[in-house]
């Protein structure tokens, strides 16, 4: 595929350049391109200029390869491969190196603060980049997983706006579970 350049304009009127193949990682952009409404610059009023380069970086890495991004989204491990004995070992090794490399890249890529994470989630959602959405949302989910409500509040800097009664009630519901246990 010829690599036509596409220009994206951020919400604060800055223009960025991206290859068409890379841009196809985004469903939204893909539809615009395929729809033939491509005349010069695509305006993205919901993505600011400090997030857009980050998005483009992801698209460049993942443009064109749908398979591997999917695998990464599954945690990088293809479960069938572990069990089924009849697969090509060489192929598997190469695949593994590639996945490892991609994982490392993702680790570096995902090193940013929470505000960026939020913005990136919104941008990925808006542009329909499934891989990026999975990646970012998974990061946010991992900050919730296994935490108590207090820890979640601390992680995301959220204040509880429950009234004391509501807090009380929630504790009561928890107790209900335990009380029946005590009666057993």
């Amino acid at each position: 595929m010829s690599s036509t350049k596409i220009f994206l304009k951020s919400s604060d009127d800055k223009t960025f350049e991206i290859d068409e193949t890379a841009a196809r990682a985004s469903e939204t952009l893909k539809n615009i391109i395929d729809g033939g409404c491509l005349d010069g610059v695509i305006p993205l009023p919901n993505v600011s200029s400090n997030i857009l380069p980050k998005v483009i970086e992801y698209c460049k890495k993942h443009g064109g390869d749908n398979g591997s991004s999917k695998k990464i989204a599954n945690g990088g491990v293809d479960k069938d491969k572990e069990i089924l004995p009849d697969y090509d070992e060489e192929e598997d090794k190469r695949e593994k190196v590639r996945v490892d490399e991609l994982k490392k890249w993702e680790e570096e890529y995902m090193d940013f603060d929470q505000q960026v994470l939020y913005d990136l989630m919104l941008a990925a959602n808006y542009l329909h980049i499934k891989g990026l959405l999975d990646l970012t949302v998974e990061k946010a989910a991992s900050m919730i997983r296994g935490r108590t409500p207090d820890q979640i509040r601390e992680n995301f800097n959220i204040n509880s706006d429950f009234t004391p009664e509501e807090e009380e009630e929630m504790i009561l519901i928890e107790d209900e579970w335990d009380d029946e246990w005590a009666f057993d």
Binding site: A141, R145, G146, P149, D161, F162, E165, D179, A182
Partner: protein, 528 residues
């Protein structure tokens, strides 16, 4: 700890009346309300305030502390009972166990999620040990990868969000602000006591100055993450703040596939299950209860009655469910004229007869001879009872013992190479012993026995031993499990014997233990 100020201000508006019957007492520093019937406040149900109150309501319901049911229930019984009836030196054992739990929690990241259950872990002697039992098994089974299997509904959720969120996209900030406003307005109207009691900033907020950005309310994007969480985590998330609560509780998509496993499974009761499933508002599609010992046939019946669209039901290891109950429930369910359940998982259910099996197959819409051999092979793994393949029912007749159980295939090359012989290495787990890691048969080869009496083939055992080195190279701290295993192997063996004797004596006294535990203990005693 929260105080309950109820709907009335701390200082009564009409002191003359309240001076007669003081409505507020101070107990151990907690403000506690008296019984305000006089004012007709209309408390529909008795409220329990704090466990410091000894005299109120039901003594058994008041938790004195987290010290477990022994203490709260039996303040008086304890005096009568000998402290250590079986000569087990329980306190020493207990200390050892607590030590392990601490060790596990010290391990970063992986075991953070255990804290909640860890807290419950020292709840009860047996529960605590069971917990260790299960955990220990898990270290070996999946080092460093806790969490991947946690996602309750990984795929498909995002699409849902994408659809929904498109509306809000045009005005990200605006939408967010308006949400806050609604929340705050709601809280104003909620009750006036809040305004009276809340600290100044709070009432300031309530007056309309909305928190901008982060710091006060969750970011809109954070709600995307909800679709990636397990039930346990959703329950934590809904207690964070109002926005999260309404997002969790009102999104039926989050509750269409409910999967309960560790650590909720030990706690969930019929009523709680009912509440959770009702959040799907009748759209529940799959319900999976992994080893939930407190769910009863009746509870399941109520869930089925209110969720006519249920297609998949998985109840492996739910010891209180009976096969009769399941058959009857499915019959009634089919009678409603619903499409009916198409996938049923009852692995490990006791007492399934041929008639039950035929009836279940009929209820699932299977023809008698249709359960074909053409399914993809199923391998034994980590003793898990859930099998997520395309079969309509998970159990089948074991070719060797003719019992209706989970039947496993063999992944070993030697067994698979001989085409005809592959049928030979196909049986339930009792007929052919298998490695709990890779699932291969270990009839002739070398194997190791683990803490929980699971069997490991020699290659998996080696792999497990090598794994910390590999991870250390990458800079990941070595998982605790290997060290745990080596250091405590001897003490564990001793403890195992002691514990099994304890369980045996409890069993004679009529206490209930799971089938696996009974089997394990009997086996152990024979060996000893």
């Amino acid at each position: 700890m929260t105080l309950n100020f109820s709907h009335r201000p701390i200082f009564p508006a009409n002191p003359s009346e309240d001076n007669l019957v003081s409505s507020i007492r101070i107990t151990n520093g907690y403000v506690v309300e008296g019984i305000p019937d006089k004012n007709g406040d209309g408390f529909g149900k008795p409220r329990r305030f704090n466990w410091e109150i000894e005299d109120s309501y039901d003594c058994r319901r008041d938790r004195v502390d987290w010290g477990g049911p022994l203490e709260p229930i039996s303040n008086d019984i304890l005096d009568i009972l000998p402290s250590d009836p079986f000569g087990m030196d329980i306190s020493a054992t207990f200390t050892a166990i607590t030590g392990w739990i601490e060790d596990m929690e010290a391990d970063p990241e992986n075991y953070v999620r255990d804290e909640a259950s860890g807290k419950r872990g020292d709840y009860q002697f047996v529960a605590g040990l069971n917990f260790i039992w299960n955990r220990a098994m898990r270290f070996q089974a999946e080092p460093g990868s806790i969490g991947i299997g946690e996602i309750s509904n990984p795929v498909g959720r995002v699409d849902g969000w994408v659809e929904e969120k498109e509306f809000g996209d045009d005005s990200c900030d605006g939408g967010f602000v308006s949400v806050c406003n609604v929340e705050e307005f709601l809280s104003i109207g909620d009750d006036d006591s809040r305004a009276a009691i809340c600290p100044p900033e709070d009432s300031h907020e309530a007056a309309g100055s909305c928190p901008l950005g982060e710091g006060e309310a969750p970011h809109e994007a954070l709600l995307f993450a909800l679709g990636y969480l397990s039930v346990q985590d959703l329950l934590s998330a809904e207690r964070v703040c109002r926005t999260m609560r309404s997002a969790v509780q009102n999104d039926t998509l989050l509750w269409m596939n409910i999967h309960i496993d560790q650590p909720l499974n030990d706690r969930i009761v019929d009523d709680a299950l009912m509440r959770l499933t009702s959040r799907a508002q009748g759209n529940l599609q799959s319900l999976s209860l992994l080893e939930c010992p407190r769910i009863t046939d009746d509870g399941l019946k109520r869930v089925l009655e209110t969720n006519p669209r249920l297609k998949k039901l998985s109840v492996p290891g739910c010891t209180r469910l009976s096969v009769e109950g399941i058959v009857n429930n499915l019959k009634a369910f089919k009678f409603f004229g619903t499409p009916g359940i198409k996938h049923l998982r009852i692995g490990g259910l006791y007492g399934v007869t041929n008639e039950h099996y035929e009836e279940l197959k009929f209820l699932l819409g299977l023809d008698n001879c249709q359960q074909p051999e053409a399914h993809k092979p199923r391998f034994y793994h980590s003793g898990q009872l859930s099998c997520d393949d395309d079969r309509a029912i998970d159990i089948e007749m074991c070719p060797k013992c003719q019992n209706l159980r989970l039947v496993y295939d063999c992944p070993a090359d030697s067994c698979q190479a001989k085409q005809g012989a592959s049928q030979l290495c196909r049986a339930c787990i009792l007929c052919i012993a298998r490695c709990f890691q890779c699932g291969r048969c270990i009839n002739d080869s070398e194997y190791e026995e683990t803490f929980c009496l699971d069997l490991l083939c020699s290659s998996c055992w080696k792999q497990l031993l090598n794994c910390p080195d590999r991870q250390e190279e990458k800079g990941v701290p070595s998982p605790k499990h290997t060290i745990f295993h080596q250091e405590t192997r001897l003490s564990v063996l001793l403890l195992k014997c002691a514990f099994h004797q304890h369980v045996a004596s409890q069993m004679q006294k009529g206490y209930y233990f799971s089938e696996k535990m009974q089997f394990v203990v009997q086996l152990d005693l024979i060996l000893v």
